[in-house]
């Protein structure tokens, strides 16, 4: 049962992306029947190959729609603002060359793979920090910090409110 659900969900996801790619190419309407058939076959194959990988360890939580809304709000709001600040920060450091680098460790207390991925990508794209490694067993993040202010920092000092957001969205 669970395997069939994984397969069907992955196939539906692939079919949606395929239909977006071939939008407006049909001879009548938006799509033509030939493309629907080709898309179904390709989506079934993609589901067979990738079904196991996509839903391991808590991926099913992302099917709840309020998480998608939260994710969209997070991308457009706090994340985008932090990213703009990050770029001005890098511009300042490129021009002045003032750096104090180091690799620090902290533990944001996230359990699932999806939450850790979200937090790691957020950290990489925001001011002065770059994820180098994540310990799979304990959940420790090793972060290269371009301007070290504390050698054993709290999560809030490195990445602000991002662990809270990642927990809210993905756990």
């Amino acid at each position: 049962m669970c395997k069939a659900a994984e397969w069907a969900l992955t196939a539906a996801f692939s079919l949606a992306i395929y239909l977006l790619l071939v939008l407006w190419t049909g001879s009548f309407g938006l799509w033509s029947p030939a493309e629907f058939i080709a898309g179904l076959v390709l989506a079934a194959l993609a589901g067979l190959v990738a079904g196991r990988l996509l839903w391991e360890r808590g991926g099913f939580r992302m099917l709840q729609p309020h998480r998608w809304l939260l994710f969209l709000f997070y991308i457009l709001g706090p994340f985008f603002w932090a990213m703009a600040k990050a770029n001005l920060d890098v511009a300042y450091r490129v021009i002045t060359g003032r750096i104090r680098p180091g690799i620090v460790r902290f533990n944001p207390g996230l359990q699932t793979d999806l939450g850790r991925t979200l937090l790691a990508n957020s950290i990489t794209l925001t001011p002065g920090t770059l994820t180098v490694d994540v310990d799979d067993a304990t959940g420790d993040f090793y972060v290269h910090w371009i301007n070290v202010t504390a050698e054993d920092p709290k999560p809030e000092q490195v990445c602000g409110a991002f662990p809270t957001w990642a927990r809210r969205i993905a756990e």
Partner: protein, 111 residues
Amino acid sequence: MNVLIYVFLAIGATFNGLGAVALLRFPDVYTRLHGATKCTTFGSIFSILAVVIYGFAKGGGEGGTLAVHALIALVFLLLTNPTGSHALARGAHRGGIRPFRAVVDRLEERK
């Protein structure tokens, strides 16, 4: 609409150029990754957003196709770019490259 497109193209070109300068100016692998990843991702987002706005303003089949495909390219870029930079940083650290003038290196102490 035209002004918005010009502004987005200008922001995109500026930050992509900043990424190239950061790549040339910073002293070691990790700081170069900082500059390269952040600036080129941000600049590419704005360049592609200009294309999306152009496509939606043009409208019809061709403009819509352009906008949707550019959006898909944007999503893939936003997903793959930070992941690739994690992989490079991790590979570089395992390959024995130490951060330049680091004040602290907790990953080294773990091993």
